[in-house]
């Protein structure tokens, strides 16, 4: 998945239309909208990470704000990639008449946000400047 040629080949192989039957477009649109909604969530995470880094007053720790901002931004990138994979998996399952696969994203989102909240709490208690 890393590197130009590999990405290109992966994308070609990952096209869900290679097998199965054509489905009712509305189910496909719902899948597409879910993908887009996750990507807006991803962009919101990146935006919040930027806001934390640029708008908060600095903590006493040298990397205080970055310890909050960077996990959020990284999570944004990961959510975007995982949501594309899940769009493919859902589309494929529908075309093959299989059960929809379960989503990894809610757990991922909850876990990382919980960790970031913990980091923020520790930094706030130990390192507030005032």
């Amino acid at each position: 998945m890393i590197g130009g040629g590999v990405v290109g080949r992966w994308l070609t192989a990952a096209d869900p239309r290679v097998d199965g039957e054509e489905i009712d477009p509305r189910f496909s649109y719902a899948n597409e909208r879910t993908f887009l909604a996750w990507n807006r969530t991803a962009l919101a995470l990146v935006g919040v990470g930027l806001a934390v880094a640029n708008l908060l007053p600095p903590f006493e720790f040298a990397w205080g704000r970055r310890m909050i901002a960077l996990p959020l931004i990284a999570l944004g990138g990961i959510v975007s990639i995982v949501s594309l994979r899940e769009w493919i998996a859902n589309e494929r399952a529908m075309r093959r008449g299989q059960r929809l696969p379960s989503s990894l994203l809610p757990l991922l989102l909850a876990a990382v946000i919980a960790v970031v909240a913990l980091i923020a709490a520790i930094i706030s208690v130990l390192g507030a400047t005032d």
Partner: protein, 158 residues
């Protein structure tokens, strides 16, 4: 009548697991209401093509999806602009304007893709033409990851 013919054009096999969960209940209610109202003789004349398994009228799924694309395009522009604002200016290199233009291009692309897709979707809902391929969606992930990488660079350098 027009509704009826449009519905039979949407003659796609629906057999996947998501059906019941997604809108099976609503459609079957719609179908039973229809079979009460419609002339039963006419239904039989159609060779039994209109069954309870068949989807109801298209609804606004295509419009909802187009609007979701528009919202996503606006989100890319907004967060991209926030990234561009944080980019440090290197000597004599107008990096902020350059990146601002890049982001405008990205957002414009999102809108172009969404418009093209809107047209295709409008056609598909009437004639059950193929659903999107991966080439329609990966640019969204690519721009989000690009914005995220830009944000990491800005945060680490800033």
């Amino acid at each position: 009548m027009e509704e009826e013919s449009r519905r039979s054009e949407l003659d796609v096999p629906v057999r996947h697991a998501g059906e019941e969960r997604a809108c099976g209940g609503r459609i079957s209610r719609e179908e039973s209401r229809r079979s009460e109202l419609d002339d039963p003789g006419e239904e039989r004349a159609g060779g039994g093509r209109i069954s309870r398994e068949q989807p109801g009228p298209p609804g606004l799924a295509a419009e909802r999806t187009t609007l979701a694309w528009r919202r996503s395009g606006v989100s890319v522009i907004a967060v991209g602009a926030a990234v561009a604002r944080g980019v440090p200016t290197v000597d004599a290199v107008p990096s902020r304007p350059v990146i601002g233009v890049l982001i405008a291009v990205l957002g414009g692309l999102a809108f172009a893709v969404s418009s093209r897709q809107a047209a295709r979707r409008a056609a598909a809902i009437d004639s059950s033409r193929p659903t999107p391929r991966i080439g329609d969606l990966w640019p969204v992930t690519a721009s989000t990851v690009l914005v995220a990488v830009g944000a990491v660079v800005v945060v680490v350098l800033g």
